[in-house]
């Protein structure tokens, strides 16, 4: 180690600490940036379109000549695809998590974990391709009247995408349940499955809820699958066999067309993004709060 003068030495240390501090405050800056960008442009949108126009209309046609700004078709599309995705990725993820943490042997676990990680790392455009050109043709055997763009296949692909996250987050939650709880259940004469249903799942319920909410946030924010396979048509219905448009797919649709900067159509982009941001943010905050609370439970 080279010995340097004491005063210059301190200065260097301070400079480094400041550089590192700037690095870490960048995340605060990003957060502020997102909120600022979305707020400024949304305000411009709401100067021209009132909130009641958005909430009381049932048609969303800002890109047409006859403009309507009812947000419900986009909300319904988002909820429908997310609900389809969650309706099977949540139970399946939970079962996988229980199996992996309570039943699987070390060997199975060693294979399963990287596979789940790989599934989680696959780009969403691949799932979009899979939904459009694999799941939809398969589903058309069952529902011959179904078109090539529909909410169901997009929802299924999204569920497959979410599954690894749901499974690994619930497994983390199950892992934190202390051994004493399990042994207590066994001591009371419970069988293994009774022990799981009576002690492990109630013990991990906070973490599992957090996992479900986080999966929901992921589903709401998912973009490419729905943009490719759900058909970008803002129709207000809850029929999974029909095409829908989600909030994220609308953002993609506007970005694809060359909408001139500063027009009303351009501002709708930010209003929709603001809604999406608030929705996912709320879900994330709730999920984090639940996770914090359940972590403290066993300390």
């Amino acid at each position: 180690m080279k010995v340097m003068g004491a005063s210059t030495f301190r200065l260097g240390e301070h400079i480094i600490e400041w550089i590192l501090r700037v690095c870490s405050s960048l995340s605060v800056l990003t957060t502020i940036g997102i909120i600022a960008v979305l707020s400024i442009e949304s305000v411009l949108f709401f100067q021209e379109v009132s909130l009641s126009q958005m909430l009381l209309d049932t048609e969303w046609t800002p890109l047409f000549l006859d403009k309507h700004f009812g947000i419900w078709p986009l909300v319904a599309g988002t909820l429908l695809t997310s609900a389809i995705a969650l309706s099977f990725s949540v139970p399946a993820g939970l079962i996988i998590a229980i199996y992996v943490s309570e039943y699987a042997e070390e060997g199975t676990r060693k294979v399963l974990k990287p596979v789940l990680e790989l599934l989680a790392g696959i780009p969403t455009i691949v799932y979009g391709y899979f939904a459009l050109l694999f799941i939809t043709p398969m589903l058309q055997f069952i529902f011959p009247e179904m078109g090539s763009f529909n909410a169901l296949s997009a929802g299924i692909a999204m569920g497959i995408m979410i599954l690894p996250m749901m499974a690994s987050l619930s497994e983390d939650a199950i892992y934190t349940v202390p051994r004493s709880l399990r042994e207590g259940a066994y001591a009371l004469g419970a069988s293994k499955l009774q022990m799981i249903c009576g002690a492990v799942i109630p013990g991990a319920v906070g973490g599992i809820t957090a996992a479900i909410i986080l999966s929901a946030a992921r589903a709401v924010g998912e973009t490419m699958i729905v943009a490719i396979a759900a058909g970008q048509q803002p129709l207000l219905h809850l029929n999974p066999l029909q095409p829908v448009e989600t909030m994220t797919a609308y953002i993609v649709q506007v970005s694809l067309g060359d909408t001139p900067h500063g027009t009303l159509e351009y501002h709708t982009l930010f209003a929709v993004a603001m809604l999406l941001f608030l929705l996912t943010m709320a879900l994330n905050v709730i999920s984090l709060a639940i996770r914090e609370r359940s972590k403290r439970m066993y300390r």
């Binding site: 870490s24 079962i95 790989l118 790392g121 691949v126 391709y129």
Partner: protein, 305 residues
């Protein structure tokens, strides 16, 4: 395996103790058997899906995966179209994103783990990072559009794309690096400090070298996510016809996932074949990155023991 799990000694004892008639449905080994069958079924289905996903895309795209596909620019005719602009763009994006996000992310992690005192400021930073990790990627695209493309007028260049992707992966890198730094035993730091090293000397010469494998694993996974991202780049407005290999950070660009999306959104099936081929290339690259990450982790875990 099935037999061993079901004849688990504990479940036998418990069955002997439980009153014969009042035993609820769940107590019966049959339910357990059903559960195990269900669980194995679901897991096999998940594995099968992974295989189907990769096999489907690879088989659809195989016929187009020739040398010409890699050295041609996009074209009106599907069989002449190639991914030269796309793969060079993706490579540039990847390298730029690494160059931007890696030092900042690791720096932030070092600050939070080694320097940060429990203060209101660090608490705010932590909350922001946790929330940013959950923000949908399209929103980052919109941020990039307003800040990098318009306000800083980098236009729809590689630099805008890389900066946007860097912001997107930053929370993941910070969290992975913090995790890696946390595994470094306290004694390393205390030893160095006791010898008179300063805080930074301790971090740079003792802590970081030990944490590097962990940081590398996390970062490779984060960057492999970055090259697969489509939505933020589309929001930036990167979906345009590009027939040039980028030569500077200010070049307009396209990338593999964008090119695949472009081809996928056309009605003709020949272009879908092109999309499948482009996706196969992307997947092959990502799986390679993932394997490298897993290898590094396994090696590191062995050394720890």
């Amino acid at each position: 395996m099935e037999a061993t799990t079901i004849s688990d000694p504990r479940s036998h004892t418990s069955r002997a103790w439980a009153p014969a008639k009042k035993r609820p449905l769940l107590a019966r080994p049959v339910t357990e058997r059903i559960f195990l069958l269900l669980a194995r079924g679901i897991i096999s289905l998940a594995l099968l899906t992974l295989v189907a996903l990769i096999a489907d895309v690879a088989m659809d795209g195989m016929e187009r995966l020739t040398w010409n596909f890699f050295v041609n620019f996009p074209s009106r005719k599907a069989e002449n179209a190639g991914i030269l602009a796309a793969w060079t763009g993706s490579l540039w994006l990847l390298l730029l994103t690494i160059m931007i996000a890696l030092p900042i992310g690791v720096g932030a992690a070092v600050y939070l783990e080694e320097y940060g005192r429990r203060s209101f400021g660090t608490k705010v930073i932590e909350v922001c990072i946790a929330n940013l990790a959950g923000v949908p990627s399209v929103i980052y695209g919109i941020l990039g559009l307003q800040v990098f493309v318009r306000a800083l007028s980098f236009e729809r260049s590689l630099l805008s794309g890389a900066l946007t992707l860097a912001l997107l992966v930053l929370p993941i890198i910070i969290m992975a690096s913090r995790e890696a730094l946390r595994t470094v035993p306290k004694g390393y730091r205390e030893g160095a400090l006791a010898l008179g090293a300063t805080k930074w000397q301790t971090t740079w010469t003792q802590v970081l070298p030990v944490a590097i494998p962990g940081i590398a694993t996390g970062c490779i996974l984060a960057f492999s996510r970055a090259i697969g991202e489509t939505a933020p780049l589309i929001t930036l407005g990167a979906l345009t016809y590009v027939a040039q290999v980028p030569d500077s950070v200010f070049s307009p660009f396209t990338a593999l996932p964008i090119q695949a999306f472009n081809w996928l959104s056309r009605p003709q099936p020949e272009f879908h074949t092109n999309a499948a081929a482009a996706i196969t290339v992307l997947l092959a690259f990502m799986i390679m990155l993932n394997i490298v990450a897993i290898l590094i982790r396994n090696r590191y875990q062995k050394r720890q023991r």
